[in-house]
Symmetry: C2
Subunit: 587 residues, 2 copies
C-alpha cells in the first residue's frame, strides 16, 4: 500500500500536496498513531485531537524558521512524525527513539524541552521579543490547551503577549477538557464562545486585546488551515480559538476522555488494557479511602487537587460524593497552596495532593502564603524519588524545595502505617504546615514505632541498634538501608545501626550526638532525591566539627531523561554493593 | 481640637457615625497619615488612595466576623488605624509599634501576614471555602490593586473565585498604576471599563463570570459605601471595580505617582526628602549604566523587570531610551524567567533583574523553562542577604532556591569589579543560565583576581594563603571574612587562609582537597543567607569523610520581622568575635 505518510520526511514535503492528499495524510497519521499507541501506550486523547491542526500548521507555516511551541508538548506526536521522526511511530524497533515531549536534542523543529503546563505563551513571547530586537521576521506560534489556561503562568503570558505589538499567534486548542474536567470561571466564557461560534460580545481574549479567530471544528483540516493562512505573517497578537475533540476518531477515547488522557498499551478493538493491572494496594488508593472516611465524618475535611484528581485516588465517582469537600482548582498549584492556607485559617482541614514535579510551581506560596502564616494544612507529595521518567517530570527536587522553608514540617514515612499515622496527625493538629513525602506507589507494611505527634524538634526512630556504622535511610529508602545493614552483617560481620529519620526538614540532635557516644565512626545517609540542598547535607553539617565521618548517598544534581532506575542507581552509587564498598573504604 | 478619629478604637465605633462624620473622619485620617508618613516614610500613594474605601469597608462590614484581606497589604494603614492601632499613627513614640503590613500577631482584624503581591484572592477563596464547609456565614472580601492582577496567582484566584458559588467580594482598586506604570493587555480592558463607566460589553471580569459593579470615584465615601452595601451578604462572587487616585489629596504624590509609591521621610510642604540621600555609587546605578551602554551598542541586549524597574536602576527617563529593549512584564516573575529563556533561544541577550524575595515566584520557571533548556540568560538577584526588613521580604532564601537547580551557575561576586566581570561574561556566553547575587546596595571596590569565564567546575579565589584555618567567605561576606582573618592574626597569631568562593552553586574540589594537604584543620564558611540547603552545607558534605572540620555560619531557618541587623548577626553568631571564639574552640 502506498501511503502519503511514507513520503513525508520533513514539513517541506507537505507543501505540494493537495487538500485531499493532506486530509488523507491526517487519516494515515491517525491510523498510525493508534497502532503505536495501542502497542506502547501514551497520551491518546490530546494527540488524536490535534492531527489536523498539526498538519495544517506545518503546511501553512515554515518550521523551523517559523517557531511552533507546544504547551506541555504531550500532544506533539504528529509534529514529530512530520519533522523527520516518522520511523519512531511506524517502525516498532524505533518506538523508543523519541520521547513523548518536544526535545531540542531530537530535532531543530523542537524549540524547547517542555513538560510542565502553561509555559508556552511565555516562551513564545520570549522568542518573539528576541526576533524583534534582532530585527528578524518569522511567525511565532504557541499551541495551548484550554486546561492549561487555568495556570497563572499562562495568564501572565497572555497578558504580555497581547501587549507585544508584533507577530505572535496563540492557538487555544479547546477540547473542553483538562486531564479531568475543567474548573473555573474562564471555562464559562469558553463555553459561551463555543455556543455563539465566537460571536459573544464578552470575550476573554478580546478583553485582553487580541485579534480573535474562531474555528468551530479544529478537526476539519480545511477550516483550520484557512484560518492559519489568515493569521500568518500578522503584525499583531492573534488568538485562534479552535475547538477539537479529545480522542478524535477513536470511539473509546472520545467517550471516556479522562481515562484516555494517558493510556497504557491496549487492544485497539476493545479498548481494554493489554495487561490488566494486577490489583495492588497503592498509596493513592489508601489516601482516597482515608480521606473519604474522614470527609464523611467531618465536613471540615477538604481534599484539594490542581487538575490531577487521580493523584489523590479520587476517581469521578468519589469526586461526585463530595461536591463541596473535594475541590479541583484546575492547573493552579500556587493557588491551591494559598487556598489551603485560607481554608486552614477558617478552621477547615485541607489536604492538597500533588506530584513532586508540580509542587515546584508553588514555592513562593509554600513560603509566603502557607509557612509564614503557620497555617495547619497538609500537603501530600506523590511521585517523589528517582524514576525512569522524563527529564521534565523528575521527583528528586522536592526535598531542597520544601525542607528548607521555615515552619514547614516535612515528613518522610517509610511504610503505610507510618504514612497514615503522619496523615492523621497532620489533619488533626492546628499549628503547623505539614508536608508528607508519599513513599512510592505500592504500599509497604512495617511494624515500626509510630509517634503520637510529629512536631519539631525531630525524633528519629532507631530500628536496629548497632555500632561503628549508622545508616540513616530516609522514607522509601529504608528498604535499601535494611539491605545494606543485612549485607554488612552477613558478609562483613559489621553490626550497623539502622535509623528511620522520619523528618526531612530537621535533625534529631540528641540522637546524632548519642551516635558519637555509642561507638559510631561513620554515618551514612540515603535519600531518594538530589543530595544538593537535601537531607544528607544537614547531617554532614551537623557533624562538621566532630570526628564523625559522614557519607551522603542520593541523586546527582542533573536532569535525567528516560534512564532506567537500575542505571541511575548504579550511576549514583546507590546499589547495596556500592554503598557497602564505600562504607568499607571509610572504616 | 476634638477629632472623630480620637474616638475610634474599633470598627464598631464607626457604626453610629453619620455620613458627614465618616467623610470628616476620612479627612482626619488623611491628615494624620501625612503627618506620620512625612516623619517616618512609608507607602504614601497606595495608603492615601484607599482611605475612603477602608472606612467604608469597616462601616459596612463587621470585621473580624467578616474577613477583609488586603493584597500585598502595604495599603493597610487606615485599616490599622480603625482596628485598635491608631496610636501607632498618632503618637510618635508608638510609630514603631506596628509593621507596614497586616500581621495576625498585631490584631484579630489581620487575617494573614502578607507582603508578596497577587495572593489575596486565593487566600480569600480559602477562607470562603473553609466557611462554606463548616456551614458558617460571613462575608469574605479581598482588596486587590490593578497592578497585582498581572500576577499569575491573582488570575488563578480569579478563575477559582468566580466558580466558588458562594459569597466572595473582590474589590479591584484601580488607580491605573503598579509601582511604575502598568503593562499588559488586561490594562486596556480596565481603561475601557473606566472610560465607559463599566458599561463596555467586553468585560474581563464578566467574562470570568463575576457579577460586576463599577465605582467611578472610590475616593467618594458615599459612592463606595453604597456599592459595598449592595454587595454585602451576596450569595455569589462579585467584583467591585473601584477607581481611586494614587496619592489622593497630596499634590506631589498625585503628580509623580511612581516616586511616591514609597517615600523616605519628607517635608510635607515641599515634598523634598528630609535627608537628601548622600550620592553613593550603588549596584543598581552601576547595573543601569552597564546595561544602557551594552544596549546602545547591541540591539540584542534586553533588560527585563517584573514591575520593579528601579531595582535595575532604570528610571523613567532611561526606560524611554529603550522602548524595545527594556521590557516590564508587570508583576509576573514566572513569565519573566520563561520569557528570558525564549529571548535567549532566539539569540537575544536578556538580563532579568529581580529582588531575592520575589525570585521565589519563579522557582519552577528557573528549573523547567530556563535550566532544563540551558538558555543563556542572566538573572541579577538584588537585595539578597540578612536585613532589617519585614518577614515578608527576606533575602536569605535565594541560595537554597537557585543554587540546587541543575545547569544553573549561581555566582556571588564580592565587589563591583567582580560583579561587572561576571555580568559581562554572563551576557556574552551562549551556553549557561547564569544567576548573579548582587553584593549589597553600595558598591565595594577590590583589586581581586577576575576570571575570563565563570563556567562550572568552580574555581575559587585564594585571597590570603595561610594555614590551620581556611575561611570561605561568600559574596558580600568577604568583608566579614577579612575582619575575622585580620583579628585571628593580630589577636591570636593565627595566619588563616581567606578564600572568595565566587560560586554559590558548586564546590571547587581541587582547592578544597589542597587545603587538606597544606595544613588546614578547619574550614569556616560564611554566607549571607540561610544555612539550610545553602553553600556551607555543600562544603561540610564534601569534607564528610575527611578529618577536616567544618563550621557553617549563616542565618537560621526562620522568618524574622524587623529585627536589627546587629541583633540578627549576634543571634546567628556572625560577629567577628563570635566567629573567632567558635574557631578557637575547634583548633
Amino acid at each position: 500500500m502506498c501511503r502519503i505518510l511514507d513520503k513525508i520526511n520533513s514539513p517541506k514535503d507537505l507543501k505540494d500536496l493537495s487538500g485531499n492528499e493532506l486530509v488523507q495524510l491526517c487519516g494515515e497519521i491517525r491510523e498510525q498513531l493508534l497502532l503505536r499507541l495501542s502497542t506502547t501506550g501514551g497520551h491518546v486523547g490530546s494527540n488524536l485531537a490535534v492531527i489536523e491542526a498539526t498538519v495544517a500548521l506545518h503546511y501553512v507555516f515554515d518550521s523551523p524558521t517559523d517557531k511552533i511551541i507546544f504547551d506541555v508538548s504531550h500532544q506533539c506526536y504528529t509534529h514529530k512524525m512530520l519533522t523527520g521522526r516518522k520511523d519512531a511511530y511506524t517502525d516498532p524497533e524505533k518506538f523508543g527513539s523519541v520521547s513523548g515531549f518536544t526535545n531540542p536534542a531530537e530535532s531543530e523543529h523542537d524549540i524547547f524541552s517542555v513538560g510542565h503546563t502553561s509555559s508556552a505563551i511565555s516562551l513564545a513571547c520570549g522568542l518573539a521579543k528576541g526576533r524583534d530586537v534582532k530585527g528578524e521576521t518569522s511567525n511565532v506560534i504557541a499551541v495551548v490547551g484550554d486546561g492549561a489556561l487555568s495556570g497563572g503562568e499562562a495568564f501572565e503570558g497572555l497578558n504580555n503577549a497581547a501587549a507585544l505589538g508584533s507577530n505572535i499567534i496563540l492557538i487555544v486548542n479547546d477540547n473542553d477538557m483538562s486531564i479531568a474536567e475543567n474548573h473555573g470561571g474562564l471555562y464559562q466564557n469558553l463555553k459561551l464562545l463555543r455556543e455563539t461560534k465566537g460571536k459573544a460580545a464578552c470575550n476573554f481574549f478580546q478583553a485582553l486585546g487580541f485579534e480573535y479567530f474562531f474555528v468551530s471544528d479544529g478537526n476539519d483540516f480545511y477550516e483550520i488551515a484557512d484560518v492559519l493562512k489568515k493569521a500568518k505573517d500578522t503584525d499583531h497578537p492573534i488568538v485562534i480559538h479552535m475547538c477539537t475533540v479529545k480522542g478524535k476518531g477513536y470511539q473509546f477515547a472520545e467517550e471516556d476522555k479522562e481515562h484516555w488522557h494517558y493510556m497504557n498499551p491496549f487492544h485497539r478493538d476493545t479498548g481494554k488494557l493489554r495487561q490488566e493491572a494486577v490489583p495492588a494496594e497503592t498509596y493513592e488508593g489508601l489516601t482516597a479511602e482515608f480521606l473519604a472516611n474522614k470527609m464523611r465524618k467531618d465536613p471540615a475535611v477538604t481534599a484539594i487537587t490542581a487538575g490531577t484528581p487521580k493523584v489523590l485516588g479520587f476517581e469521578q465517582e468519589l469526586r461526585n460524593q463530595f461536591p463541596k469537600q473535594f475541590v479541583d482548582v484546575g492547573i493552579a498549584e500556587g493557588h491551591a497552596v494559598a487556598m489551603i492556607s485560607g481554608i486552614a485559617k477558617a478552621g477547615g482541614k485541607p489536604v492538597f495532593g500533588v506530584s513532586s514535579s508540580f509542587l515546584q510551581r508553588a514555592y513562593d506560596q509554600l513560603s509566603s502564603d502557607l509557612a509564614l502564616n503557620c497555617s495547619p494544612a497538609v500537603i501530600l507529595v506523590f511521585f517523589a524519588g528517582i524514576a525512569q521518567g522524563s527529564q521534565t517530570h523528575m521527583g528528586v527536587f522536592d526535598i531542597a524545595l520544601a525542607a528548607n522553608i521555615p515552619n514547614i514540617i516535612y515528613l518522610a514515612p517509610t511504610c503505610k502505617e507510618e504514612y497514615l499515622s503522619m496523615l492523621e496527625w497532620g489533619l488533626d493538629q492546628t499549628e503547623h504546615p505539614v508536608v508528607i513525602r508519599v513513599p512510592g506507589i505500592e504500599t509497604v507494611s512495617r511494624n515500626g514505632a509510630l509517634l503520637s505527634e510529629y512536631c519539631h524538634p525531630a525524633k528519629y526512630e532507631i530500628i536496629e541498634h548497632g555500632t561503628t556504622v549508622a545508616i540513616l535511610a530516609l522514607g522509601k529508602f529504608l528498604g535499601l538501608g535494611e539491605q545494606v545493614r543485612k549485607k554488612l552483617e552477613t558478609d562483613h560481620g559489621i553490626h550497623a545501626t539502622l535509623i528511620n529519620p522520619r523528618y526531612v526538614s530537621a535533625v534529631d540532635e540528641i540522637m546524632l550526638k548519642a551516635l558519637t557516644k555509642y561507638g559510631h565512626r561513620l554515618v551514612v545517609t540515603l535519600e531518594d532525591g538530589v543530595i544538593d540542598g537535601g537531607f544528607g547535607e544537614k547531617i554532614a553539617a551537623f557533624y562538621g566539627n566532630s570526628p564523625m565521618k559522614v557519607l551522603n548517598f542520593g541523586a546527582k544534581k542533573e536532569f535525567v531523561n528516560h534512564v532506567t532506575l537500575e542505571e541511575q542507581y548504579f550511576r549514583y552509587r546507590l546499589t547495596p554493593e556500592q554503598i557497602i564498598s564505600d562504607i568499607l573504604n571509610e572504616i
